[in-house]
Amino acid sequence: MTDLLEVNGVTKRFGGLTAVKNASFTLKKGEFTGILGPNGAGKTTLFNILTGFMQPTTGTIHFNGELVRELAPYKVVNRGMARTFQLTRPFVGMNLLENVLVACMSPRASEDKDKEARASYLLAQVGLGGRDKEPVETLPYGDLRRLEIARALATRPDLLLLDEPFAGLGSSEIEQLAQLIRRLHREENLTILLIEHKLREFMALVSRVIAMNFGEIIAVGPPEEIVKNEKVIEAYIGKTEEAHASA
């Protein structure tokens, strides 16, 4: 297994606030990794940096051995790193098929000659089959997340970054979406990096966790270890007097 993504010493400062502090980690091909951390830990900022939507203050990012720092977001996508947004951003006024079709027009998808067929296939893949002509305006949240994933898949990514895909969903929707993501990882051989702060769903999905707090990576390891990690527990539950006393 080779390193698909190599993040080295990435720091992002907004004025006096350091949103991401000296983050370094690697992702291997085919891995399913999650970034865990409470709200404001710097997860989404890190995502935005990886995908070119923000530039890091310092640090380097190598994807497939190539330096991707300072590439425009669409160029990052065309090198094989696609993302979804936490707040879904569909193209309003277009139907489901057209929403995916836009991404089928990216240079990376140039080998898919029949764009309509490809977009329709992808909709079926994410469980929105047969609803090509439906407008996006009336789509429930869970389906919008699926649409986001279909659009990301249209660019034929090697690495898929999912930004809190379960946020705002009910438990049955979460279970179905988790199944979809698991299937994509297995069948499409996708490398996936997922942000989440819902511990239960998260731990059941990923095989490796990068835990963040206040912009720093505080622990890396398999989920079983992470849930026992003192720093992680501290970040989530907080330090108590008793914990101090017993320690």
Binding site: T51, V77, R89, G93, M94, R151
Partner: protein
């Protein structure tokens, strides 16, 4: 991608046939002349709608491209005595050159930069025409262009044919995958980026296409008036074109063309009202835009033909 509905094709043919036959009923060079100007406004309005209507990036200086095409014709035909037919392709080329000049630095940015840059560029060109009056004729402009055709009726038909080709070409483009991307850019640039689309590239090329047709319209106008003058670059022309598109129904292209023809006709017909003309015209526009924010022509046509689709 999307097919154009048969009813739209039928409607288009009817309108063009009606416009072509209109001067035959009331044979007067005056009417033919008015209709020629109407149709040229149609070319300007539909070309504006293609870029700005689809991508949502308002261009407040379409007159830059119109004037560039017209002055190209002026210089070529009157000063360098070139064959008048050369004006048309070269008017297109020069207008496209100007679109690159303004589009490259400003279309990469989000926000109002593009609209403001277009507005100032057209104003600057208008001033330059006055400053370099030795070459451009200053206020007077350039006179004595050769007509493309001797018979005004033939020229009207020719311009009408060009409008038809313009609307068909732009509509086909707007309904292709290309047009889909332009509409996506209007929706959300960040999502387009996340979909791997080079947003700036598509905006610039669509502006080039828009400018090319506007420049063609400018050259046609110059060879109808047989003179060009600085007001062609004025913001009044740009705003007039924008209003026409809004009345037509933004993003529809054919609506812009029809609205341009009707509104130009309206201004002519109101000449009898003398100084009240502007009042009536402006009031009509305000009522239309107030009660029909989506425009008049395209929504009306879609309503009328709903059952036939």
């Amino acid at each position: 991608m999307k097919r154009i509905a048969p009813i739209d094709i039928a409607g288009g043919i009817l309108v063009v046939a009606f416009l072509a036959l209109l001067p035959m009923f009331a044979a007067s060079n005056y009417l033919t002349g008015v209709l020629t100007v109407c149709v040229i406004y149609g070319i300007w309005a539909s070309s504006w709608d293609f870029m700005s209507g689809l991508t949502g990036r308002e261009n407040f200086g379409h007159s830059l491209f119109i004037g560039a095409g017209a002055y190209t014709a002026g210089f070529l035909s009157s000063i360098w005595s070139a064959n008048p037919w050369i004006s048309l392709p070269l008017g297109v080329v020069i207008a496209i050159a100007f679109s690159l000049l303004v589009g490259f630095p400003t279309l990469r940015l989000r926000g109002p930069y593009f609209a403001l840059a277009m507005l100032s560029a057209s104003a600057i060109l208008q001033r330059l025409c006055l400053i370099f009056w030795e070459y451009t004729g200053g206020e007077e402009g350039i006179y004595g262009l050769d007509p493309l055709m001797k018979n005004p009726l033939h020229y009207y038909w020719f311009v009408l044919a060009i409008l038809a080709v313009t609307v068909i070409a732009l509509t086909l483009l707007a309904q292709s995958h290309w047009g889909l991307l332009l509409r996506a850019i209007r929706g959300d640039e960040a999502t387009c980026q996340a979909a791997g689309i080079n947003v700036t590239f598509y905006k610039i090329v669509s502006l080039m296409i828009s400018a090319g047709f506007a420049g063609l319209g400018g050259a046609l106008y110059a060879h109808y008036q047989l003179q060009v003058s600085p007001p062609l670059f004025s913001v009044v022309v740009s705003i007039t074109v924008i209003i026409m598109v809004y009345v037509g129904g933004i993003g529809s292209i054919y609506g812009a063309a029809v609205a341009a023809i009707l509104l130009t006709l309206l201004t002519e017909m109101l000449r009898g009202f003398g100084e009240y003309r502007l009042w009536i015209y402006t009031l009509t526009l305000m009522l239309i835009l107030f009660f029909l924010p989506n425009g008049l022509i395209a929504p009306l046509w879609r309503r009328l033909t709903e059952r036939l689709r």
